[in-house]
């Protein structure tokens, strides 16, 4: 990766900005391409923060994104291709993918086979495993942040909430992370110290959503989120989750534990076993990425669909690039 200090015109020479595709408080995102290769890219231009108090430094989420993506190179994690810095702005050149798992889930023209779901889960877990191995928590795992390329490869994106987890003294971590529907119970209870397990809970919710084709636990408020969770998985007891009684003064209705089979009627036993272990209330007992990848579900039939053969959205792009048949780069661990 080259890090050049050049003015905007150089960036425009190396990368062609084609259109604005989004604008946030701290960044403008353009779609473009690399001039030399025609490769599609997203260019995130980060502006100098401004507030009533005057000029501010670079937005925290931009710092998070840079610090995480600089450490992570993996087929299932979005690539930070280049960074350009100019006196008061920063340009991140990212890989551009035109679809994401949320769009695919919502597209009712697409039928999912269980082998497809297995393939998406495998890629999600591989990407996440790589984050965790590098001490990085993603903290915002959801279908919308799992981008899908034309070759079918799924890639974790949006590291604006990601933090590195190496600091053993870190306290008072924010609980306002992870979109509510995918938020782990310990976060909903305001745990100030949490770990990799919060990402795994989100993956469990995504797994369920892939099977149901609708969000699994779509709470409107934090309280409703807990209620939905307890209805679905049973209200946790001190036995399920040691320390649970001390987490909160709130009294919850005691819902019985219903077998997952009741809702996920078509799923096999290995599927349900994996799902249940991802959605374990006790963060210490919840599966790690490594354990999940070693689960029999991934070894049992059907084999995961090779990424190139995964179903994709019809309304395909106007661009005349050939769809590269991806040789299943998904090498087993």
């Amino acid at each position: 990766m080259s890090h050049l200090t050049e003015d905007d015109s150089t960036i425009e020479r190396k990368y062609v900005k084609e259109k604005k595709i989004g604008e946030g408080t701290y960044a403008v995102v353009y779609q473009g391409k690399e001039a030399a290769t025609g490769r599609k890219v997203a260019i995130k231009k980060i502006k100098l923060g401004q507030s009533q108090a005057g000029v501010n430094g670079i937005e925290l989420s931009a710092i998070r994104e840079v610090k995480s993506l600089q450490e992570l190179q993996h087929p299932n994690i979005i690539e930070l291709i280049d960074i350009f810095s100019h006196k008061t702005n920063l340009n991140l050149v990212l890989e551009y993918l035109d679809s994401d798992l949320e769009m695919i889930i919502k597209d009712k023209n697409i039928v999912f086979m269980s082998s497809d779901i297995k393939s998406w889960m495998l890629m999600t877990l591989r990407g996440l495993d790589h984050c965790h191995k590098n001490w990085i928590l993603h903290r915002d795992m959801k279908p919308n942040n799992l981008l899908v390329g034309k070759d079918g490869q799924l890639k974790l994106a949006d590291f604006g909430l990601a933090r590195d987890f190496g600091d053993p003294m870190a306290k008072n971590m924010s609980t306002q992370v992870v979109t509510r529907w995918y938020r782990a119970p310990e976060l909903l209870f305001g745990a100030k110290q949490y770990g990799y397990a919060v990402d795994m809970w989100s993956v469990g919710c995504i797994f369920a959503e892939l099977m149901l084709r609708v969000p699994y636990l779509p709470g409107e408020t934090d309280i409703e989120q807990l209620d939905l969770m307890f209805r679905a998985l049973g209200t946790p007891t001190e036995e399920d989750w040691p320390g649970f009684n001390e987490l909160t003064q709130m009294k919850f209705q005691k819902y019985p534990k219903t077998p997952l089979k009741a809702l996920f009627t078509a799923a096999g036993n290995d599927t349900l076993d994996l799902l249940e272990k991802m959605l374990n209330y006790d963060p210490n007992k919840r599966l790690t990425t490594r354990e999940a990848l070693n689960h029999p579900y991934f070894r049992n039939k059907p084999r995961p669909t090779p990424p190139g053969k995964l179903p994709k959205q019809e309304k395909s792009n106007h661009l005349n690039e050939p769809v590269s048949p991806s040789s299943s780069s998904a090498s087993p661990y």
Binding site: K67, S85, K87
Partner: protein, 305 residues
Amino acid sequence: MAANFWASTHGQYWMLDEAALRKSRETDLKYLKEIELAKIRGEDVYCFVLNLTSWFLYLVIAALGRRLNVRQVIIATAITYFKRFYTKNSYKNTDPYLVAATCMYLACKMEEFPQHIKSVILEMKNVTADQGGFGYDNQKVAEMEFYLLEELEFNLIVYHPYRTLKTLAIDLGQKSDVIQRAWHIVNDLFRTDICLVYPPYMIAIAAVGFVIMIKEARANHNGIDTRTRKGNGSVGGVGSGSRNEGRGISGIKELKQWFSGLQVDMEKVLEIIRNIKNLYSQWREVNEIKAQDVLRKLREAQNKS
């Protein structure tokens, strides 16, 4: 312990050698020679500048960190940024105070303990009040942040020895004072450029090794005393040491055994231990006032240009 480190940007791009560090100080050295300040120490001019100036600037950054009430890890990250920045820049041409404040500001964000840019500036003014002061505003620090990021090549995650110490603490037991002492040694080591040269897990192991060596030296010393008094005592000091210190690994013998079982390049670890010894032997010699003098000259040069 080491596997992830070597895959990180820290392991891949930021392990420098002494020669590179020496080279990075050339501009400053040349200038100090010009103004004849370097002559104070003659041949040893390289060590002189490196030790005194970076030692003094460590104190500035640590003081700023304490005023902002940040954890030691944040101070360590800020100092590492600072040192990395000055492998490519000179004190003479870029004001170390401005860089120090910006490093702290960025490190706080990086370690998820964001501070308002104004608080950093205010505290930096306090820290440097009797050392030439700090005349920069938001705009200047914000601009420096972009430049700093660039000079850091956008590699922001820094590994520190503290994480390894935590891991080693599991072996040694909660009661062990070895880790606590090693922790302080690691803090002290940020006065030197060791964090630019050696991998953090090795620094942690070396600090622990140093503590064990000191313990052994003391135990032997006590052992001799016991022997002369009691007339026996082939096990003397060692045995009593382990009885006094409770659970976990604490006897010298066990500690040494445990230590030699660590999977690490011991040659390198010994090198770091030598550096630790140097650090403490210089401790008294390093005179803050002289450092301030060097720094003042360098900062003056820059105001002129």
